[in-house]
Amino acid sequence: MGKEAFGLAAKDNSGVLSTFHFSRRETGEKDVRFKVLFCGICHSDLHMIKNEWGISTYPLVPGHEIVGVVTEVGSKVTKFKTGDKVGVGCMVGSCGSCDSCTEGLENYCPKSIQTYGFKYYDDTITYGGYSDNMVCDEGFIIRMPDNLPLDAAAPLLCAGITVYSPLKYHGLDKPGMHIGVVGLGGLGHVAVKFAKAMGLKVTVISTSDSKRDEAINRLGADAFVVSRDQKQIKDAMRTLDGIINTVSATHSLLPLLGLLKPKGKLVMVGAPEKPLELPVMPLIFERKMVMGSMIGGIKETQEMVDMAGKHNITADIELISADYVNTAMERLEKADVRYRFVIDVANTLKPTP
């Protein structure tokens, strides 16, 4: 029953990935089926294979930065056809009728279904993109621009939308504005690229000086501040309209709040597990705000990918073969990647180990 598929799955919370055979549903009337070419490795995949959030069920096939070529479409599909270059990000379903869904914000739907490890409408568990083929409802498929290399574009489907959405929603996308990006990893480096494409001035804030050269000379950031250097922080006080904070480790918000202009916005897109200390005075006396954001809706994701196509924005990736994935996870844990691993699925994922 269903169609055969194979991929890489974690079988327990050791997080070690190994070959896994399973089946995916037949292509339904609203479904799009595609051959997976590449899949990005998101830090969430690492959290999930190790069950760090306590919600994982095994076997778990991760991967929610998936790109490929359409092989089959259901009878009621109108927007895609065989041969199209498409992608799937973090969601494959939602209720379709709540306030969030109606506003195109499926990501905030309380019944949204994530691309892997979640229960689908047919009671099966969703399996992600570390696999040879994907089938997905048309409403959650993203068209990939022709001009973008698919491997380097794959991470846009999670990292890209995660930083694009809050820049737009919080009005931090006006040319001439000055934003900060905290943390230069998968999310951070893409944030710098989108912000520059929007015409913003960008300061990267990092705990060490080691990424300064990259940030300024390769990624195009305008300035670089080491957060542990009191003088650098002091010189940059009250200069930023907004900050995109990608750091998910516990850290201090006080110096970051100090960098904001009055009424500035600190947007958390990394999610530390433990609460952070919130100094209240900067909020009260300077009307600064702290807010969160999580990926984006489908319409917005398409808009983001189209913008990336227009401005040639892709992620900086290290393309790996499927059998390197466990080593990649170990390196990811130590943030040893500039800046996203992408699995060359079509060329290296084999049905037998």
Partner: protein, 360 residues
Amino acid sequence: MAKSPETEHPNKAFGWAAKDKSGVLSPFHFSRRDNGDNDVTVKILYCGVCHTDLHTIKNDWGFSYYPVVPGHEIVGIATKVGKNVTKFREGDRVGVGVITGSCQSCESCNQDLENYCPQMSFTYNSIGSDGTKTYGGYSESIVVDQRFVLQFPEGLPSDSGAPLLCAGITVYSPMKYYGMTEPGKHLGVAGLGGLGHVAVKIGKAFGLKVTVISSSPSKEDEAINRLGADSFLVSSDSQKMKAAIGTMDYIIDTVSAVHALFPLLGLLKVNGKLVTLGLPEKPLELPIFPLVLGRKMVGGSDIGGMKETQEMLEFCAKHNITADIELIKMDEINTAMERLAKSDVRYRFVIDVANSLSPP
């Protein structure tokens, strides 16, 4: 030689001051400046007792300069106006709130946001534009630049209207700024004290559904039957709190003690906004997951600009919004402060200054 409070200005003044961080208030002789060309001299009728007064007399925040004459919810009569003063005449009923000075030329001041001017000075315990210390409304009269004087609307009583000058603007300003005024939306008010009870009244006047979130079950009857709140949540009732998850569009958090934000954030719908107004001594703990998963926001606010404060007074006059007060005599102030420290007041003390403050 440094001038004493009594001699630094030409006009004798009298009030009650705290002389040290015991916070005990007692009669105090000082002086006030002459009424300048831009000034209005106000004979003080009433002055509200704000929790900030208590924090300041006890030096809770570490920047009190004794002697401190508190009081920034002042209503009185203009007895003198300087020759450049256009907005007020002698005999007008006027108000003075939390600030009495700013640079009047920066970006914030030009946007009528004097409260965010880096050179803003407070009505008391501050260095004013003339370089001398400011003394507040627990006194017979005060001299204030016209920019910082408010017209007290007809129909707004002087005694129960006085607390609006701080409590009122402190809740009104963020409700406007953060867009918490859409009729039919659901506002949570955490903490039912001086700020909270005014927030309920203003929320209802904006056409919002209002739920009070409080740690005191005893305030439920008042909240619903007298203040007009639609519902009441006891914050320690975990069942009821759970049932209310994801139901509120906005929360005004007036609680000034250290408290948990997690349960309040849970009450917000997706895109919900929580504005914190209290100034706890230690930082609060901010859980990030609820912000990220629900695109929620935590912001703060601090009083409001002068234009906005005037707008708030007109709004309250129109909707018959006043504070619930307990009128006290000047010499009852120390007992009032002790009761305020225990939140034993429904919901603001107001000093009947004109009738009870008498110099020896």
